[in-house]
Amino acid sequence: MSGTPFQVAALKRVTMSISSGEFVGIIGETGSGKSTLVQHFNGLLKPAGGEVLFEGKNIWTGEMNLRELRSRVALLFQFPEHQLFEETVFADVSFGPRNLGLSGNELEERVRFGLECMGLDFGVFKDRSPFQLSGGEKRRVAMAGILAMRPQVVILDEPTAGMDPLGRRQFMEQVSRLHREEKLTVILVTHNMEEVALLAERLFVFYHGEMLLQGRPADVFGADSLIKGTGLEIPPLSELLQRLCRQGKGVRTDIFTVNEAAQEILQLYRKECV
């Protein structure tokens, strides 16, 4: 499209860095450039200007093999169940590692790892057709296919879109466990503010192709007026705690679970009403 009147700048002036082992969230309304941005991280899109560095190396100058990069920085697209194509779950999950040249025991080990990370039993699932699984299972199999490459970084683009609340919670718990136990760097692109507030250590807020804000979830959601202009919503919990804070009540605003928030408010209640 470049050079035609249809050309548009999808992303402008974006400078960001993500450290190894971090869990970051990228949020922004539909069309804000989030998905375009993350496709630059593993070289699926080439920036028209600017550069993308991985471990200090520019990914486009030829020092880095793009296929190798993609196995280390894995990207799970939205509705990943649409990418399944093999006859069995084993064959599908092993597609990534096979492309890395693995075979035999090592391949099986990778597939087992991937499936079990997502809470799918290797023995039960390996010979089933991916097309006969339920929606949630399909998505886990797709995720297992990414994890079987043993990446250092996973980019998840709206991984829980269209899932029921229980499925969502389980999926994100598995991701969060991988982050903790395998030291996996996770980049989560989402609309779900509660999810990202709870899990991410740092947030990047995108609006119309530009990065509007970055920081800890508590700070980002504290920047009330800025966030509201982007078409995003502050998680109800944060909203409540912030309102209390503005009324001069001494509550913490960096709490993102219902239980902790209940404790905090209960404490306040006891202090003030006794």
Binding site: A74, L75, P80, F85, N99
Partner: protein
């Protein structure tokens, strides 16, 4: 897959010229007549007339040149092939050039150039219509023209509906294939290297999900249409009722006139 993006099916360019405003039914009918006339022309004088006629029609549409050139590109090889075949293998008349068993003779050059011109003019005529008719109007026109074949049980409405749906889904499927291709590339798939067989094989991870999703979409669409009580062409009215204007008659009569003149004068 940049090659896939360059497919410009139904490359309609909106505008407000005479040809744009003509009724699609009149346009399609005129197109058929002009194409038939192009096949009946026997002399270069006749061809020359068509060159000027189509040039005038083209100028009246105010369409940019490059859209025509782009439209002509796919047939370039067929045209060249025809030219070479005629020049080398049609015999008769003065011999221009001889190399062993190969000869280039007067009749071959004449027929080669004539056929080339005819092919190019056929494509230009068709382009003039497709560039100025929206796909939906085009399908409506087809439906109308197929109506006389109803007694042969040709399902005109269904054919038009299929065309419309197919055109509607081209961009969707293109987007889908782009997404799946990227998703598989993220899993280390390689679509570019290797010989023909390897590359054909590497398309499996792209084609299987694409077909699955196409069937899923078809299913969804069928359910959506049925739940709106769609049941084919019988007694169905249209949202855009097309009005035949005197201009449309004029167009069809002009086309008829040209064809008749060609037949009677024998040019």
């Amino acid at each position: 897959m940049s090659g896939m993006r360059s497919i410009t099916l139904g490359h309609y360019l909106p505008g407000n010229s005479l040809l744009h405003r003509l009724d699609p039914r009149a346009k399609l009918l005129s197109l058929l007549i002009i194409i038939t006339a192009l096949f009946l022309v026997n002399t270069f004088y006749g061809m020359l007339f068509f060159v000027f006629f189509l040039l005038a029609a083209f100028l009246s549409t105010k369409l940019p040149w490059r859209y025509f050139l782009r439209g002509l590109k796919p047939v370039l090889y067929i045209v060249l092939f025809t030219l070479v075949l005629h020049v080398l293998f049609t015999k008769g008349g003065q011999v221009f050039w001889r190399f062993g068993a190969l000869t280039i003779e007067e009749r071959g050059v004449y027929l080669g150039l004539f056929m080339t011109l005819r092919l190019i003019l056929l494509v230009v005529t068709t382009l003039l219509i497709t560039l100025t008719t929206s796909p939906i109007a085009f399908a409506d026109g087809i439906e109308f023209l197929l109506r006389p074949l109803r007694f042969l049980r040709v399902p005109g409405h269904e054919i038009a509906m299929m065309m419309t749906i197919a055109l509607r889904f081209i961009p969707t499927l293109m987007e889908e294939s782009d997404k799946i291709r990227k998703a598989q590339m993220a899993r280390g798939a390689d679509f570019e290297s290797g010989n023909v067989f390897r590359r054909a094989h590497s398309l499996v991870p792209l084609l299987v999900p694409l077909f699955v999703s196409a069937f899923r979409r078809a299913d969804d669409l069928a359910v959506a249409m049925e739940s709106r009580c769609y049941r084919g062409g019988e007694n169905r009215t249209k949202m855009r009722q097309q009005q035949i204007t005197p201009l449309d008659y004029l167009g069809v009569f002009t086309a008829c006139g040209i064809a008749a003149a060609i037949v009677f004068t024998g040019v």
